[in-house]
Symmetry: C2
Subunit: 350 residues, 2 copies
């Protein structure tokens, strides 16, 4: 049975929601709750959740959502993040899931698990719902400042993840940019375009923000700043439009009647396009399975994150990412991780 | 009467749409159509638009949507862009509006009009509809690579524009970022945060993508890459959600009935939140009024862009922007445009 360490202290909705999620998968996975023991016990009582199917590892310190990541990890060695990641590092759990401070989870994973060989920057691969399916955006926020070869590595890691998860042997990789032509974009995007073109990945070129919902690529590569801006803008606009529709429906009797008839349709749409609660996002490039859940995750979203982590363990995502990055380092002199900070020496031929 | 030069050759929908827009404002503004004469005349016939109220300035060359901006401007001195901007430069028109290649419009404006004193980088100020109102995002794509002091100047220019346009004496300026805390973001955002904090602007701190639709600021400052990603993501998600709702409504008789009852409500929402056709975006920081319209603009959207340009002329936006930037250069040693490329020498006190 796959062993999952679950951060019971993380998330905006409190430990009750995490416990409810655990209850939803009890018996299917071997779940260890990680958090301040008393907090977990009293939350279980409040939520009416039976703790007996779960392990419980005490972690008395709590990392707040606004704390500076590295500082929080260093100053709180007994937080649910460090203790949970330590369970993975020591082989006592197969995966760790947290809806807590995502920067601190990333910092903790770097410190406790370390990077896979050849990986410069682990990247967060977030799932974004599209009209017909979903795309993966990597990096979604772990690396605000990136070099071109980081984006190449995100493409390689994202592809490996996509292959494992969806069985697609050659996922289409796009580069988030502000125009279609190779000459478009900032310096980072223009250089990354060259690296991706020469990479052997199934690179389909630039993808603009307006293309994101239309399934034009499977994996979209970008720096963590732009990726986070895109994801959070999608989240905000989706939320706003549903709220605007609701407000409109309440305006008149005729609209209220229409809203009543359409209620099941709206529920389906809301659940499909709720960007804030779309499962989780694996952190790719570290030695172990780590899944970040959205801070606002409810039990359903957290269950999605648990399933995602279990799937990653089952399909061997960590090993697949390691192999893909290793191959990149071998095949591409000038393409791998050995490049200097400026990607200096890349000839015009690339 | 305000004299408007209108690019008749630009835009995805062809010159007919531009002519229809001109017809909508005929008599209220002195409109000069700029484009290949024969094309304009035959389009007028096709669209059933009477050309007699308008001036027509021949510009036989056409700049395509995908052409590299600077090259297009240099190699086509008789394009509708260069000829139209020349009308403004020579004082024969008060404003120029184009739905054509926006990069080329910016390049052309830099060459033909030049920058206002002290302005390093003119910025595109795009209007984004929010739940209750609108915000201005600057820069929306003219400058893919920015320095911190460019973002400060965008804040100053965006504020001046907002003051003129909406009469708000102290618009709230936010910085697009990936977290609330001042320490969040990439190097550019972190340094820009310091400059904006010390600027005397009504700086309200970081604004995340998910906050954009919720009126948390009036002017949101960012580099052209992230700004463009945010705007186009908003556009794509909005379009996708409306399409998904439509598809859902067609699924069942009950939903179709609900859709029928809600049809007027959806029409209102679509027109309010259609990111693609929300008027135009002034280019701030050049010597003259230039408004970029979305390539997909229909006649209604183009009319919006014309009204926006006329309003900018009426309220003296160019002069207000010039004064604001001048004041910045005077008041802020270390804050103005005289800084080196790395903003070197900014002490920790900022």
């Amino acid at each position: 049975m796959i062993r999952i360490a679950l951060d019971a202290a993380g998330g905006d909705r409190g430990p009750e929601e995490v416990l409810r999620a655990a209850a939803l998968v009890a018996g299917r996975y071997d779940i260890t709750l990680v958090g301040p023991r008393e907090l977990v016990v009293s939350a279980a009582r409040a939520a009416g959740v039976d703790l007996s199917p779960f392990g419980l590892t005490d972690a008395p310190e709590v990392v707040g959502m606004g704390e500076p990541p590295s500082e929080a990890i260093r100053s709180k060695p007994r937080s649910s993040l460090t203790v949970g990641l330590e369970l993975v590092a020591s082989g006592r759990a197969d995966a760790f899931i947290s809806a807590g401070n995502s920067g601190a989870v990333v910092a903790g994973a770097l410190l406790m698990l370390g990077r896979l060989p050849g990986v410069d920057r682990p990247g967060v691969a977030t799932h974004l719902p599209t009209y017909r399916g979903r795309i993966i955006i990597i990096d979604a926020g772990a690396n605000a400042d990136c070099r071109p070869h980081h984006l190449l590595q995100f493409g390689v890691m994202g592809s490996a993840y996509y292959r494992c998860t969806f069985g697609n042997p050659s996922p289409r990789v796009g580069l988030l940019n502000i125009g279609e032509e190779p000459s478009k974009g900032n310096l980072l995007a223009r250089r990354a375009y060259q690296l991706l073109s020469a990479s052997g990945l199934n690179f389909v070129g630039n993808v603009e923000g307006k293309d994101l919902p239309w399934d034009v690529a499977d994996v979209v590569v970008t720096d963590g700043f732009s990726g986070n801006v895109a994801l959070k803008t999608a989240e905000g606009v989706g939320e706003m439009l549903f709220k605007a529709i609701q407000a409109k429906i309440n305006q008149r009797l005729r609209y209220r009647l229409g809203g009543l008839l359409l209620a099941p349709a709206f529920r389906e749409l809301l659940s499909r396009y709720d960007y804030a609660e779309y499962g989780g996002a694996p952190l790719l490039g570290v030695r172990g399975v780590v899944v970040l859940a959205h801070g606002r995750s409810n039990a359903r979203a957290l269950r999605g994150a648990i399933e995602m982590a279990a799937e990653a363990v089952r399909t061997g995502v960590t090993e697949a990412v390691a192999r893909a990055v290793e191959q990149l380092t071998v095949t591409g002199p000038g393409l791998g991780s050995r490049l200097g900070p400026d990607d200096g020496g890349i000839g015009p031929g690339l």
